[in-house]
């Protein structure tokens, strides 16, 4: 079970708590995690990445295990600690704006 931590506004949009747990088949990659997240919470589609290109939105970042994975390839495997659920995959809204 993979743990995903969402920023405040996406929690309220999906009406979930800080963290959701997802069953992800295959390797734990950004794409696989976000595919599973959007399948379970369709209202989040388009809020983290583009509907069509699947590119990350500019003011969203992906952190895990103390590292920034925002600019890593979508299909690159994430750390085993994320795959095992020991550490959450953090979706973070950038510190910007008013």
């Amino acid at each position: 079970m993979i743990r995903v931590e969402l920023p405040y506004h996406l929690r309220t949009l999906a009406n979930v708590g800080r963290e959701v747990e997802l069953e992800v088949t295959g390797a734990a990659t950004q794409r696989a995690i976000l595919d599973a997240l959007e399948a379970r919470y369709p209202m989040l589609a388009g809020t983290i990445r583009d509907h069509v290109t699947k590119d990350r939105r500019a003011f969203v970042r992906f952190f895990a295990c103390g590292q920034d994975f925002s600019n890593e390839p979508k299909d690159a495997p994430l750390p085993q600690a994320v795959a095992s659920g020991a550490e959450p995959f953090l979706v973070v809204g950038a510190i910007a704006g008013g």
Binding site: H9, L10, V16, Y41, P42, G46, T47, H51
Partner: protein
Amino acid sequence: MSGVRVLVGTKKGAFILNSDGKRSQWEVSGPHFGGWEIYHLKGSPADPKRIYASQSSGWFGQVIQRSSDGGKTWETPGGGLTKTPDGMPAGESNKFVYEGETGTHLFYDGSSKPWKFTRVWHLEPSLQDPDTAYAGVEDAAIFRTTDGGKSWQELPGLRTHPSGARWQPGAGGMCLHTILLDQKNPGRMYVAISAAGAFRSDDGGKTWRPVTKGLKSTFLPDPTAEVGHCVHRIAMHPGRPNVLYMQKHWDVMRTNDAGESWHEVSGNLPTDFGFVIDVHAHEPETIYVIPITSDSLHYVMDGKLRVYRSKTGGNEWEALTKGLPQENCYVNVLRDAMAVDTLDPCGVYFGTSGGQVYATANAGDSWAPIVRDLPAVLSVEVQTLP
């Protein structure tokens, strides 16, 4: 007894104000969608309980919300029959994808830039069907839903008009912010785009043509060009749809022939820069504007918040000041932030960048704030309830 529901979109959420027909006591609910920019909310003329809301943020993009109970509860359309394992609505209301090749438009620096969807500025529900609504978006295009907001399809004839490559953004982005539906001529509709101009369709949005003859914009190399005008707002009285009033970047304009030709009616206004314009519900020749100092000074003139009313369809204007601040006031009123009810006397409502919503229950003779200290107001719509 009849009532009024005022739908207020702000920079940090939506608010709904309710009153009975006297319009003297108001109940405020909200913020709905706190922290999100609510560019626009609008109720369906066919079913007042159905309200659509455009919820967006620079971080997380666009979401469409829908209420079926007059704004008490909301859902991302698509909920209901289909639920997620947690029982949540399985809505995906936020997918706005241009049809086919996107092409390019002009950017601020004169370069060509591909169309890119940013947000929904304006929602215009169908006059007949609560499940049908139009969305005006940035970068400028028009979309339509026929399933209550669950899915949106572009009407690409507008964006792919041959002039599209010459459209360019105004300071707020290249937004389609005005959609007018002609209830007497099915299939006829108008849109306005900053800064492309005004367009009309006579076939339900399939094909479009500019309706800008008579507009003059001195910031353009050719001031009377077919496209490039920064139209801020167009207003129509539903009973007389061939007469339209326009607040342009500068100039208040009028057409008597469905946009075939426009003429200026700024008359004695202290400045003819502004954003909003609207028409009295029962007097098609009575119109309202709120002059803003200039394109460099986006606040009202001389520290005075004044609505100007013309009872002659333009040219002759009177300042309406009773109940409005007449010193140290430096607010702006944005293009979608004025609306009228259909009670008698007509009520007029507008919201400011300072977070006040002012209303008159006597067609403008006197005003009062019905709520104040909200986040900056982006839009105001009014539903007159039976």
